[in-house]
């Protein structure tokens, strides 16, 4: 019987945070550390003519100024990481000052002058499509183009009884991790150690090595404690290259940490999709066809194109429709580049297919649950029209479960409406794709005092995976969880690994740790037998001990570790290999596809405030190792999603000026707007892994958008086609 797996175990990560001793990147200091600050463009699009930093260099404490740094990085513009001859967005780095401290560095920024010739800015993504005004000189605005076609959508649409035609918009949002991005690059004798607020240290090492491999002999990346990421601290950023370059050139430790204003204009924004679609239904509610033009607002670089691929290939969601055409247009605009944010393409897809379901229900006069039941996939596994293999579970069962809450919420809404209150209920059904691979690594070591150290190649940053992995290893080895430590985030701690993204860490790193622990048990058995001088076939491993069945002799992990690590300076008399470590790698042959349903009861007050009166999220994410951690992910994700539906939008004016430059303009949900979320989990659809989990970090943000949108729509009785919801519709 497992002691820990499946239990709500308190986090082993917490004490250092609670005591204030966690070390985020800005908390790390090396003697002689210099501080780097970045001069960012205040204009959206211009030719950069001249940068004059001579006055800045004269200021006391200023060590260096960097301008015009260009490095070729995939899917980034020529003017990357700095504008050399063309400014492409507000926030585009123009110069960097390196100074003794940050006050001096920011003072010096004000002494840099630059001449530019303004160019018209491309702001509206649909205008960008016309390709008349260019976002990047000499390049087409169409940065990415793809057609996804399955079946015969034109024919199926023409034979549909009812065609819904609408435009849906998912605005640009900003991930807003509470810790802004930052880096401390330490140069020592031709080698570099980079301390970073990152979610993928091994990946970061790769991309930095690609750029600077000819300047340094090696790069070690160490993940500092990370104050949230939500996808935004993974892919290469201009500041990563600028800071590392500065430390190599100056041969000094150089630290850069974004101010919040800098972060709002430089951390990759996300979502930013427009769908112009036609969806065909039969009179009795069968979804038959979809033709969708998907425009994704990529900003000033094209690396976010893959998000549209994820959206397009999951556009049918958990439904049986197979005649689909999605034309993807990825457009360049003069805005901060776009990339992933919690959910990465799946929330956008769910918003679209669930809006279609609700609008169709209204048009056909059907019940929203019934129309979903009519269309849900009933046989699993199922290959969707674009090749996703939905693996396991029971969608109808979960919908029926959610329906009970929906009916109950509807009853309560009815009561409240009688009192004249504007109340609505929304239900969503969503499908997730996760466990983005390819694999992850884990080592399990016994230290001389018998404590077990688990090292994982993934790089959690707040999710609590270390606790869940300690639960797995403690159970496998049959030892107390306080004998297990988990470490990660250093490219020199473990050979190779990837990181924490795509709801993968528990399933991939957790199962790697399980396999490594199994290997370690075997190792202990062999070693214990040799140390006891008995036959290995005659010993068993039981609850942290190697037991010789016949004689009753036994050795604990601690005794074995002690036996091989004591006797310093002595001879190796026992001749057994003293290896007390095993490493394992784990990957799945395909992605996993959890699913779920969210139900919301919402009131819109007279003043237009959105109040969530009740909320339930029901998920099937396979086996749940620690329900407290999974629930924490769901609650947090739902409130983030509330922000996306009601409060959060990156705004630009028509000239490309960024209007959201502080938390005064970009509104995050506070304790005042947050609400209670109830989480229920079913464990029908397990993965193929030995610990058959799937993953939950992103699911809540997929389920919440359409559920809340629908509830608000019903409360105000006006159709909603854009998030965040236009305030005018609420009053």
């Amino acid at each position: 019987m497992p002691r820990y797996i499946g239990q709500r175990i308190k986090r082993i990560e917490d004490p250092k945070v609670l005591l204030g001793t966690a070390k985020y990147v800005d908390d790390l200091e090396f003697p002689g550390t210099l501080y780097l600050a970045i001069l960012r463009s205040p204009v959206a699009h211009a030719r950069l003519l001249k940068v004059d930093y001579s006055d800045a260099l004269k200021m006391p404490g200023v060590v260096s100024v960097i301008t015009g740094l260009n490095i070729a990085v995939e899917n980034r513009p020529r003017n990357f990481p700095m504008a050399k001859d063309e400014i492409l967005y507000v926030g585009h780095p123009i110069a960097a000052v390196v100074a003794e401290d940050r006050y001096k560095a920011f003072d010096a920024l004000e002494r840099i002058q630059f001449d530019y010739e303004p160019l018209p800015a491309v702001v509206d993504p649909e205008d960008a499509l016309k390709d008349e005004v260019k976002a990047v000189e000499g390049m087409s605005n169409i940065g990415y183009r793809k057609t996804y076609r399955a079946g015969n959508p034109e024919d199926a649409l023409s034979r549909s009884d009812v065609v819904i035609e609408t435009k849906l918009e998912i605005s640009r949002v900003y991930p807003a991790a509470m810790e802004p991005r930052g880096l401390l690059s330490v140069y020592q004798g031709g080698r570099l150690t980079v301390y970073a607020s990152t979610q993928a240290p091994h990946f970061m090492r790769r991309f930095l090595k690609n750029a600077f491999g000819n300047l340094v002999s090696d790069i070690r990346v160490v993940q500092a404690d990370v104050g949230g990421a939500f996808g935004s601290k993974m892919f290469p950023y201009p500041e990563d290259y600028i800071t590392v370059y500065a430390s190599i050139m100056l041969r000094r430790p150089v630290k850069w940490v974004n101010t919040r204003r800098d972060d709002l204009m430089s951390t990759y924004h996300s979502r930013g999709q427009i769908h112009r679609l036609r969806a065909g239904f039969t009179r009795d509610g069968e979804w038959r066809a979809l033709i969708d033009d998907l425009v994704i607002d990529l900003g000033a670089a094209t690396h976010g194109y893959y998000l549209a691929d994820i959206t397009a290939t999951l556009i049918s969601g958990p439904y049986k429709v197979r005649d689909i055409l999605v034309e993807v247009y990825g457009v360049r605009t003069n805005k901060t580049p776009l990339d992933q944010y919690r959910g990465a393409g799946r929330p956008e897809a769910a918003f679209v297919y669930e809006r279609i379901m609700d609008i169709a229900a209204d048009e056909l006069g059907m019940d929203p649950v019934e129309i979903r039941r009519r269309n849900l996939i009933t046989q699993l596994p199922y290959t969707n029209p674009f090749g996703h293999h939905y693996d396991s579970g029971n969608y109808i069962k979960l919908l029926s479960f959610a329906e009970q809450y929906y009916r109950d919420f509807e009853k309560r809404a009815e009561e409240l409406r009688k009192q004249g209150r504007r109340v609505g209920v929304g239900l969503s059904f969503y499908i997730e794709q996760n466990n983005f691979g390819p694999w992850e690594s884990a080592s399990v070591r016994v230290k001389s005092d018998g404590k077990v150290l688990v090292i994982i190649g993934a790089a959690p940053h707040g999710q609590g995976d270390a606790t869940a992995i300690a639960q797995i290893v403690a159970d496998e080895l049959g030892i107390d969880i306080d004998q297990v430590e988990v470490s990660w985030g250093d490219t020199e701690l473990i050979g190779e690994g990837f990181g924490t993204y795509g709801s993968r860490t528990l399933t991939l790193a957790g199962n790697a740790a399980l396999l490594a622990a199994r290997g370690l048990k075997e190792r202990l058995r062999v070693l214990g037998a040799q140390l006891m001088g008995v036959n290995v076939e005659e010993v068993d491993y039981r609850d942290g001990r190697v037991v010789h069945l016949r004689s009753g002799k036994s050795m604990s992990i601690q005794e074995i570790a002690n036996a091989v690590t004591s006797n310093v300076g002595g001879t190796w008399g026992y001749r057994a290999e003293p290896k007390l470590e095993e490493t394992a790698y784990f990957g799945l042959k395909d992605y996993t596809y959890p699913y779920g349903s969210h139900v919301a009861l919402v009131e819109v007050t007279e003043e237009g405030l959105v109040k969530v009166l009740d909320y339930v999220a029901i998920d099937d994410i396979g086996f749940v190792v620690n329900p407290m951690l999974a629930e924490g992910q769901v609650i947090g994700g739902v409130i983030q999603g509330f922000g996306e539906v009601v409060l959060e939008e990156v705004k630009y004016d028509e000239s490309g000026n960024l209007l959201t430059q502080s938390f005064g303009e970009y509104w995050l949900p506070s304790a005042m707007e947050s609400f209670k979320v109830k989480w229920i989990y079913l464990e029908d659809g397990k993965s193929d892994a030995p610990i058959p989990s799937k993953g939950i970090a992103e699911g809540p943000l997929i389920g919440v958008l359409p559920a809340l949108t629908r509830a608000i729509e019903r409360a105000v009785n006006k159709r909603i086609t854009k998030i965040p919801v236009d305030v005018k519709l609420l009053i």
Binding site: K10, R11, E13, D14, P15, V17, L18, L19, G20, T21, A22, K23, Y24, D26, D27, D101, R102, Y103, A176, A177, M178, E179, P180, D225, V226, G227, G228, F230, V257, T259, R260, R261, H461, G462, Q463, G464, M628, L629, G632, I635, G636, G637, V638, I639, Q640, S662, F663, G664, L668, P669, S670, A671, M672, S674, K676, V677
Partner: protein
């Protein structure tokens, strides 16, 4: 808070600041424009005090100054001259967690932990003013502290539990 209105110094001239932080008196010379948050972090090494926004919106830098919670990015170090300050580093006694810290642990009230120091200090202030707050009072009390991970639910539960523990 004592504010000297007659001192005239240039931006580069250093001003003496004496503060009692977590029970210890410190004396340092600082630039008059230096923010309290930078003073606590850089001059005193108290890195539990986090910078999350620079604009007073997020509350990650919340500390207790003369018994009241302040956002230390909104206070100059020189304004703290003579003040008594408590940061998260000063909350645990002899290695034993304060009941608020215990409650945050028990209720899974933190994920990435970046907002946690500010949340705990704001909770400390809230409970010093109101030992038995209603849920609504807790929400209002914490409305100036942003958290991106937890959705606040477990933080609110932790504050309730901490209040209960502190009342005995």
């Amino acid at each position: 808070m004592r504010m000297s209105s007659t001192v005239k110094v240039g931006p580069e001239e250093l001003v003496k600041v004496r503060v009692k932080v977590n029970g210890v008196w410190y004396e340092r010379y600082v630039e008059p424009r230096k923010l309290l948050v930078d003073f606590l972090r850089e001059d005193l090494g108290l890195t539990s005090v986090h910078i999350g926004c620079d604009t007073g919106h997020c509350g990650a830098c919340t500390v207790i100054m003369n018994g009241k919670s302040v956002k230390s990015c909104m206070v100059l170090a020189v304004q703290a001259d003579g003040a008594e300050i408590l940061t998260l580093e000063g909350l645990a006694k002899d290695g034993k967690l304060h009941p608020i810290q215990e409650a945050f642990w028990e209720k899974h009230a933190l994920q990435c932990g970046y907002c946690t120091s500010g949340m705990i200090m704001e909770t400390y202030y809230l409970l010093s003013q109101n030992p038995n707050p209603t849920e609504d009072e807790i929400r209002r009390g914490l409305s100036g502290n942003l958290c991106r991970c937890t959705g606040y639910q477990n933080i609110i539960e932790a504050v309730k539990l901490a209040a209960q523990k502190l009342r005995g």
